[in-house]
């Protein structure tokens, strides 16, 4: 019996209608996107796990700014078979008039502990394995640093007081895991030179590469948590430091896929009316022939199932191709990342997607229970169906949001941005069509008629406008807003902060900068002091145990952060909660935290935050929260404390500062760097270049996403046209029956699509402007000044594309005639 029903379902599936095919397309696009996302993410996570295994260069790596004390060194030695120390310092290398910021790593004869150190005599030459690092008096530079300083093998490079000979090109360090994702240039020297180079206040990162068994790893972990909570520890059984970052990336993209599912919901809502008519008719006929309801329900489910299973191979092939392209692109960032398809994950993804698709189909299947023979005689609307559809769509979207949500703030922001855009597009559609219809009511002609008809079909028109408007919004948001953001940031920063930012200077370095600036007649625009502190506990609980979800703030708090002391609330900050301390307060164990960080870490006023400052554990009460506001400089700090801290905590003090230099003065900087190689200064040009690199990455990712959105938008247009095709054809036939020509129908159609495109375009631009203003205001407190020529050009392009596509897919409805009306 069941077999017969499945055979029937198969028979009807093979006679698939256009609706069935469109439904398959919508589901297929969603499946390709989710499969690509999950497979790519799995590839990266697998790569990171492998990377951790191969590039740790040790069984355990312990890293902190301070060297281990003798006692700590002895304790660690007791839990391991060998320890190798590497030290690194970020500094500026200078050679003649060239300079370049990079990381100097110092090692001794015992390096490397595990793995291969590879070097060559030529930047592009073949590399060889070296059993040890550079000898005293030598320096090895990586190929990029080597060429950016225009060096030759055998040249002498001055670092502070040391004169080092460039003897080899550094090709590979076996313990580069921690820098695996960084593009920072690097050099390797013997440890004795770092000691000569070091100046008071220089922050040298000490990394202990430890050989240990599994049991010893566990022992070291416990020991570190107890005695060195501020240190970072990585081990082969643990998670890659980048794993959370990529989890976050997947989650953001997953959340963004709500847009895709939302558009799919629009498309399916349009389709459901036609599907319901067909299925109800079929069920009613079956019932009139004596079949039972379960039979027709099983046939309907069978048809859907065959549709999904039928498109599965194609969706898998497309997803694999997209996955391959993405891995190929990501291989620039992760060398040795290889394409690998994960069948079990694919199976899970397909199953999860099918569940969501089923949720969308549920209202239709449910409504079949209400189908009866009476409907063959007297069709009646079923309002319950729409309510159930909305409920199902809401359920499906909520499930996706819940699955990908790791941060309430981020989820809230993404959903709010989407809802605002949707709300705006709907409001605009309603407002413009209503106003257009009202104003043109007393006029005759094609335009008033089109406006009237569009207003009457507000529901289906709104979905077309929503589909195209959302796609256009995302496209505009990516390409235009980020570009404008970059330009405004650069301009703003230059106006307020000059073109050179000192990101870390010791007291001695700052004194020399001041002297140099005075000599060059340069005003120092801003200068703010800070010390380094590492957050270790929240309300007495270790940080790692309080935070289980990835966040940007957590990623930063895994490293020591800059703690600023100040009596008054800085001019570029605004108090958002709590109370700022009175000037001269003796209560130094209180702090103010950036509001966004508080939200990210789930903190509230009154929480106790434990920091380690220069090996001293200090607790602070969270008494205030601040937000950044523009206008008086961009240097701001997440954590601010009263100046009284200086009387209780002994730690190196640093400064951040900003200056405005002329082009000629930039070349004078070499003198400062030669004297202070560890002085961290970055030019606006470099900052802009970094921003542009990030922008390029973000734009590529979102552009890929927009391809999926555009596909779905096109499908939404096709489906929405298909959904009203019979009404549209009838309308055209009736118009022809008034003696009007096909040209009139053509003009009406063109006008309708032009209005649809114009509303969608205006909505998208308005939404982009709104989002832009909000982001500028909330994040940078800047006025958003879009480029109107660009906007107009975008609107025209959008208008042409939507009109052309809409017009093309409406051709079937234009094949109308009075004959058809007579034949009905």
């Amino acid at each position: 019996m069941l077999k017969q029903r499945w055979q029937l379902a198969w028979h009807f599936y093979r006679q698939a209608s256009l609706q069935q095919r469109l439904l398959t397309w919508v589901q297929g696009i969603l499946l390709v996107f989710i499969l690509t996302l999950s497979q790519t993410s799995a590839s990266i996570q697998a790569y990171l796990a492998q990377n951790l295994d191969q590039l740790l260069g040790a069984d355990v790596v312990l890293s902190q700014a301070m060297p281990l004390s003798d006692t700590q060194q002895t304790a660690l030695a007791g839990m391991s078979s060998q320890i190798v120390l590497t030290q690194s310092l970020e500094l500026t290398f200078t050679h003649q008039q060239q300079w370049q910021t990079g990381l100097l790593k110092a090692v001794a004869a015992d390096y490397p502990l595990q793995g291969e150190l590879r070097s060559s005599l030529d930047p592009s030459g073949s590399d060889t394995s070296s059993s040890r690092g550079p000898m005293p008096g030598e320096i090895w530079l990586d190929a990029r640093l080597f060429s950016s300083l225009a060096l030759q093998i055998g040249d002498i490079l001055s670092l502070g007081t040391s004169e080092l000979m460039v003897s080899r090109i550094l090709q590979h360090e076996p313990d580069r895991l921690m820098q695996g994702h960084s593009v920072q240039m690097r050099a390797l020297v013997h440890r004795q030179h770092l000691a000569q180079l070091q100046r008071p206040g220089d922050r040298i990162q000490h990394r202990y590469l430890v050989a240990a068994s599994k049991a010893q790893i566990a022992q070291i972990r416990d020991w570190q948590q107890q005695f060195l909570p501020a240190a970072e520890l990585y081990h082969k059984q643990g998670a890659h430091p980048l794993a959370l970052f990529w989890q976050r990336t997947e989650n953001v993209l997953g959340l963004a896929s709500i847009v895709l599912f939302f558009m799919a919901a629009i498309a399916l809502q349009q389709l459901s009316r036609l599907q319901r008519q067909r299925e109800h008719f079929f069920t009613a006929v079956c019932l009139s022939l004596g079949a039972s309801r379960p039979t027709s329900l099983q046939i309907a489910i069978g048809k859907w199932l065959f549709g999904v299973l039928g498109m599965l191979p194609l969706a898998l092939i497309f997803a694999m191709a997209c996955h391959w392209l993405l891995v190929d692109w990501l291989a620039h960032t992760f060398t040795d990342l290889h394409w690998r398809f994960n069948p079990s994950l694919a199976l899970q993804t397909v199953a999860a997607c099918m569940l969501v698709f089923m949720l969308f189909q549920l209202p239709l299947w449910f409504s079949l229970q209400q189908a009866c023979v009476r409907q063959l005689i007297q069709p009646s609307p079923q309002p319950m169906h729409q309510g159930l559809f909305l409920l199902s769509a809401f359920g499906a979207l909520s499930a996706i949001a819940a699955y990908y949500s790791d941060n309430l703030l981020l989820t809230g922001m993404v959903l709010l941005a989407l809802l605002s855009c949707i709300g705006l597009l709907l409001l605009l559609s309603w407002l413009l069509l209503t106003a257009g219809e009202k104003l043109s009511q007393s006029f005759s002609g094609l335009l008033p008629f089109v406006l009237y008809m569009m207003k009457q079909r507000l529901m289906s028109k709104s979905t077309q406008i929503l589909g195209t408007g959302l796609a256009a919004f995302l496209l505009l948001f990516t390409l235009m807003l980020l570009k404008d953001l970059g330009n405004s940031m650069t301009l703003y920063q230059r106006q307020h902060d000059g073109n050179l930012l000192v990101s870390q200077a010791t007291s001695a370095q700052m004194a020399d900068i001041e002297a140099w600036a005075a000599a060059q007649n340069i005003a120092i625009r801003q200068q703010k002091p800070f010390l380094y502190a590492k957050l270790t506990q929240i309300n007495g609980v270790a940080l790692a145990q309080t935070q289980h979800k990835p966040s940007d703030s957590l990623a930063s708090f895994n490293q020591p952060i800059r703690m600023h002391w100040t009596a008054q609330l800085p001019d570029n900050n605004r108090l958002s909660a709590g109370e700022w301390w009175p000037a001269g307060t003796a209560n130094w164990q209180q702090l103010s935290l950036e509001q966004e960080v508080m939200t990210d870490l789930g903190l509230k006023l009154g929480d106790r935050l434990g920091f380690v400052i220069e090996q001293q554990q200090v607790d602070f009460i969270l008494n205030a929260s601040h937000v950044y506001q523009s206008g008086v400089g961009a240097i701001t700090f997440w954590v601010q404390v009263p100046p009284a801290i200086l009387q209780h905590v002994q730690a190196p003090r640093y400064s951040m500062a900003s200056l405005e230099l002329t082009a000629a003065q930039f070349s004078q900087l070499s003198a400062l760097w030669q004297k202070h190689p560890s002085l961290r200064m970055v030019s606006l040009q470099e900052l802009t270049a970094r921003f542009d690199r990030i922008l390029a990455l973000v734009t590529t990712v979102i552009s890929g996403f927009v391809v999926f959105i555009s596909l779905l938008a096109a499908l939404v247009i096709v489906i929405s046209v298909h959904a009203v095709e019979s009404q549209e054809r009838k309308k055209n036939s009736v118009i022809l029956s008034f003696g009007l020509s096909k040209g009139t129908c053509l003009k009406l159609n063109l006008l309708e699509w032009l209005i649809t495109g114009a509303i969608a375009g205006c909505g998208a631009i308005a939404a982009t402007w709104l989002a832009g203003s909000l982001i500028y205001q909330s994040q940078f407190a800047l006025p958003y000044q879009p480029n109107f020529i660009w906007l107009l050009a975008t609107l025209l392009i959008l208008l042409s594309v939507v009109t052309a596509l809409g017009f093309a897919v409406s051709q079937r409805s234009l094949r109308a005639s009075v004959r058809q009306l007579m034949q009905e």
């Binding site: 094609l446 008629f449 009736v734 029956s737 008034f738 003696g739 020509s741 009139t744 007579m822």
Partner: protein, 232 residues
């Protein structure tokens, strides 16, 4: 209206054939017929005899397989395709646009032609067909009879010279059918429009000035209250 000012439709020796399953099927052959503005005509015949096809030939919507169709006016003879703007249609299924109110359905042809005060004119026509109280109702809220009244108002509102009605009472009960027939004939007479009705209803056909019967490929005049000449 003086006869020489009236428009006429002439079919001269027309035949209509079509292909079905690789076979040529002949609906009718060598048919000559004249329809004059201001008079009423009924075409009857069994299902499949080609009544609707004849209606389409008369209205210029279809081209005959052989023979010619003309529109004659002011002593000029023009192809039937040029008649399109002078014709109104009434269908068995009414074919009102479901999104529009009765008023807007009737105003539609006027608005599309750019006629000023379209809604006022439409309102007066709805008053005329007895639907002055249903102006803002959509087709789904109207009965079958009311829908057909609206369709009649819509067909006549732009003063066409001919009205072609395909089974206009086919979907109505006998009382409604009678009322609609009264209305249709009265309105056409008042407007001086030629009325061509395709129907199975003998009662409706009997109200026309001439009745043609189409059967087995031939069209015969069954009854005439006119002094017109036809050849079949």
């Amino acid at each position: 209206m003086a006869y020489h000012l009236k428009s006429r439709i002439e079919l001269c020796g027309v035949s209509q054939t079509f292909s079905q399953n690789a076979q040529q099927v002949q609906l009718f052959q060598d048919l000559t017929l004249t329809i004059a503005q201001g008079h009423s005509y009924a075409i009857t015949g069994p299902s499949g005899s080609g009544k609707s096809s004849l209606l389409m030939l008369l209205s210029g919507l279809a081209q005959p397989s052989t023979g010619q169709g003309y529109w004659l006016e002011n002593d000029s003879r023009r192809p039937l395709a040029g008649l399109a703007k002078e014709i109104g249609y009434i269908f068995q299924q009414f074919h009102l646009l479901p999104e529009l109110t009765a008023l807007h359905n009737v105003a539609l042809p006027l608005k599309l032609r750019g006629v000023k005060h379209a809604e006022q004119l439409a309102k007066s026509w709805l008053d005329k067909v007895g639907l002055g109280h249903r102006l803002q109702h959509k087709p789904a809220q109207l009965s079958g009879g009311e829908q057909q009244r609206t369709a009649i108002a819509r067909a006549l509102v732009f003063s066409p010279k001919f009205i072609f009605a395909d089974e206009p009472t086919g979907n109505l009960d006998s009382q409604n059918a009678q009322d609609i027939a009264d209305l249709l004939f009265a309105c056409c007479e008042e407007q001086g429009a030629g009325l061509v009705i395709v129907t199975h209803s003998e009662l409706l056909a009997a109200r026309a000035e001439q009745i043609f019967n189409l059967a087995q490929g031939h069209c015969q005049l069954r009854q005439s209250k006119l002094q017109e000449v036809y050849r079949a």
